[in-house]
């Protein structure tokens, strides 16, 4: 037998033509012939079938293919059952036997080549690169009648059928490179790995499928969705050119193929037209050969030339095929993409509600759907938030890019001593409960005592230890009850503030920031327990003690006091200007502010670093305030700011 018999397990020829790497078509997932990398565009599950008819004198219909595909993140899996991928050949072997009645009976041979099923896997490395493989199982059934002599009283011949089944596993690899939206390239092996049974019967030698190795190269130019152009070249010197497109739900394609083993030069075409939605696709395609198709040929010719493809060879007939695919998705289609996230504020856990009003990060999102969507940004930070913290939804028109804010809530009970590097997961969700896109960024979580240098944020330190401050202040007030009882109620706030200050300072010393920076602030409890602090710490503590018993306070931020800012405290005596005489005869020693209701009230500046007594602290505080805030117009010039704690 000759060994040049060519029955290739596969080539790039497919019954629906070639469609490229389009996300918008589902054909790819069952068309292993030209998709050995197994890349496909479905979102979750895909099920499809191909049913067709072959016009071989009579019309023979058959189920060509059933396939299923599943996408798992960047992994793509598929499987197909191909009962219609087979070709059976019946031959007269050329031998015959003459029976007793002198009639002659020819001996026959039957060779059946089948591709039974295939499995595919692909991995998407990034937006530009996919790689995958396809494994297919072929079966070859060889049956032949032979004449066997039987020796007995007389020699006579009997007709007997011998047969052998040879299985073949075929593995090929494919790689896709998507340069950009317009240019895509693919390369695949042909017959890279073949694992087959050994053929035992000598008569069938040389009729097995050929295992000649080769390669398939594909280039696609996609200038627009409605027109894509593809060229496929096999190292066997066969090629295909294909034009496909998609517009308003309709798909259309025309593939012309040159088959090295068939005549004429362009052996035939695959026209196709279809319709698709997000849920399903239907495609009517056909194979039209340009040469005369014969139903029979001599065994010797078959022996000489062989065939090169199970479904596309010189003995194949024109076909019409209908392909149907369902794109079943448990998860909705991605509608929004998160391009980038910028963290614009460091995270200070003590500022627990600051990030509700001021976003700590902004993300850039793009609506990749064709409809207006509502995008919900959310964030989860490892170690801080157990759940995702949602930000207000943003409406985006189709194709629009927008900057979306990410807000954050830090739990009251959250505690962290030292700064820690954590990770923030940013999500954008469009229509379902599952995010459409997410990004992770490193985020620095500062310690509880960390402060950003903004005096307005000292209020968080004031509010945090309110229970401790309340106990402290109430104890001081209780122990001075006899004094306070003799004081008119109008002067209660003033004298409480005075008594608390005098008690507070008697055990404290002023110390510069222990970390020699303006970025560390003690909570009131720490200041009292440590018996000292700097201006921030002392102002925070005194303000907290007063606020805890209902005395309004404000921080005075002296922004240009040398190189370092200075902070002290203003408190509300709740006296009106006509009552000033009850606390001082010097009208320079107080400051009038309007209450929420528009009433004039006397506020007193206190220098909390003056740890002698209240009167001294008041005098020093008011001198500085009058000089820098009032006389030098610091309040108007922005050099001095009054920041109400509540």
């Amino acid at each position: 037998m000759a060994l040049n018999f060519k029955i290739l397990p596969q080539s790039s020829f497919g019954l629906a033509g070639y469609w490229g790497l389009q996300e918008s078509v589902t054909i790819a997932f069952y068309n292993y012939e030209s998709n050995l990398s197994n890349y496909f565009g479905i979102k979750d599950w895909g099920i499809s079938l191909q049913y067709g008819a072959e016009f071989s004198g009579s019309v023979n219909s058959s189920l060509y293919l059933l396939a299923m595909a599943k996408k798992l993140g960047n992994h793509s899996l598929s499987a197909r059952f191909t009962p219609g991928y087979q070709k059976e050949f019946l031959f007269a072997t050329g031998e015959s036997i003459i029976i007793n009645d002198t009639t002659t009976q020819s001996l026959e041979a039957n060779y059946n080549y089948k591709e039974l099923f295939g499995l595919g896997y692909s991995y998407k490395f990034d937006e530009q690169f996919n790689a995958g493989l396809a494994v297919r199982f072929f079966s070859q059934d060889f049956n032949q009648q032979i004449v066997k002599p039987v020796f007995g009283d007389t020699l006579y011949l009997v007709r007997e059928t011998i047969g052998e089944k040879v299985n073949l596993w075929n593995v090929d690899l494919g790689f896709d490179y998507i340069l950009n939206k317009n240019f895509q390239f693919r390369i695949s092996s042909i017959n890279l790995i073949n694992i087959k049974d050994d053929l035992a019967i000598e008569e069938f030698q040389g009729f097995e499928m050929d295992q000649k190795r080769g390669a398939l190269l594909i280039a696609s130019y996609m200038p627009a969705e409605f027109i894509n152009l593809h060229v496929l070249y096999e190292t066997s010197n066969s090629f295909q050119v294909s034009a496909t497109g998609y517009s308003k739900g309709f798909t259309y394609g025309l593939t012309a193929f040159h088959d090295y083993y068939q005549e004429p030069y362009i052996a035939g075409v695959n026209p196709a037209v279809g319709y698709r939605t997000d849920l399903f696709e239907i495609l009517l395609s056909g194979v039209k050969y340009f040469s005369e198709r014969n139903t029979d040929a001599s065994f010797s010719r078959f022996y000489e030339e062989g065939i090169n493809n199970i479904i596309n060879n010189r003995y194949s007939f024109d076909k019409i095929v209908i392909s149907m695919a369902l794109n079943i998705s448990g998860t909705p289609e991605k509608q929004v993409e998160l391009i980038d996230v910028e963290i614009v504020r460091d995270i200070y856990p003590t500022f627990y509600d600051k990030y509700i009003e001021q976003p700590f990060a902004y993300g850039r999102v793009v609506n990749i759907s064709d409809k207006t969507i509502s995008v919900i940004p959310s964030v989860k930070i490892e170690g801080i938030t157990a759940d995702k913290i949602q930000s207000p939804p943003q409406t985006l028109a189709p194709g629009d890019t927008a900057k979306v804010p990410f807000y954050l809530i830090i739990p009251d009970k959250y505690m962290i001593d030292k700064a820690t590097l954590s990770y923030a997961d940013f999500y954008v969700t469009a229509s379902s409960t599952e995010p459409d896109a997410q990004l992770q960024k490193a985020a620095l979580i500062n310690g509880m005592n960390s402060w950003d240098g903004n005096v307005a944020n000292l209020r968080y330190f004031i509010k945090r230890d309110v229970d401790f401050s309340m106990n402290y202040s109430k104890n001081v007030i209780s122990s001075n009850k006899s004094v306070l009882d003799t004081i008119p109620s109008e002067l209660s706030a003033f004298y409480k503030s005075k008594i608390i200050f005098n008690d507070f300072v008697k055990m404290l010393v002023y110390t510069s920031d222990p970390r020699a920076s303006a970025e560390y602030v003690q909570f009131p409890k720490q200041t009292i327990e440590l018996k000292g602090g700097d201006c921030d710490d002392l102002s925070v503590a005194y303000s907290s003690l007063l606020e805890s018993v209902g005395i309004q306070t404000a921080l005075v931020d002296y922004k240009e006091d040398g190189e370092i800012r200075h902070v002290n405290v203003l408190f509300n005596t709740e006296l009106d200007p006509t009552q000033a005489k009850y606390i001082t005869a010097n009208d320079s020693k107080y400051f009038i502010r309007k209450s929420e209701q528009g009433n004039d009230e006397i506020w007193i500046p206190v220098e909390t670093t003056s740890l002698t007594d209240f009167d001294e602290a008041w005098n020093i505080g008011v001198e500085k305030f009058n000089r820098e805030a009032v006389n030098n117009l610091g309040l108007a010039a922005g050099k001095v700011e009054i920041i109400d704690v509540y």
């Binding site: 009106d576 000033a580 502010r593 209701q597 005098n619 309040l635 108007a636």
Partner: protein
Amino acid sequence: MKTFLILLLAVPLIVAQDFTVTEANGDVKYRTGTSEEWLEVREGTVFRSDDFVTTEAKSSVRIKSSKNIINLQELTAVSISSIKAMSTDELLLALAMEDMINAPKPNGKNNSSNTAVYGNKEGQNKNPEMKADNFGIKRLNGAMQLAKNGFKESSVVFAKETYRKYPDTKQISSYRIFFADILYEKGLYEEALGEYLDIAKLQLNKEDKFKVESQTQNINKILLNN
């Protein structure tokens, strides 16, 4: 160290050279910084910038600064820091600061711009009977003296501070008109208009009413033409 000591000594000297009493008649007192004690002013008394000087009835004082001489008549009270020349821009800044201070605390439930005097309801604009030695009135007199001595801008600022600390004095229309006229004279028409409109809410005599209405119309015309 030597430099440091010289600087420490130089600062009060510079201030002392700026404000010296050249003549004091009658009962003239001064108060230093946060002190609650009034001290007698004599010829040659040197004031610090945070001092406050006051004259009683039939008393006066002449204070000489490095550039100017200011005469304070009877029943006046002036802070030494307000005896200074200010530009119109500085006056505008000071007025902005007053507006800021007089604004009710933010996030309040009542954000009305009620300018009624504490303790009175809006509409009760009767001129209060205040004694001439009321310290608020003394301050307004002092502010007028500042203006008459050429410190018009600082006189308005000092008056504004007085109105904040002694709200009752806002009811006296004659002072209000005097300081509103300064704003008008300085070309600060919008600020002056605000003042005149506020003064118009007071119970005015015929003369003051005519003056206020006339000035209001004048400013409206000017603003319309601009």
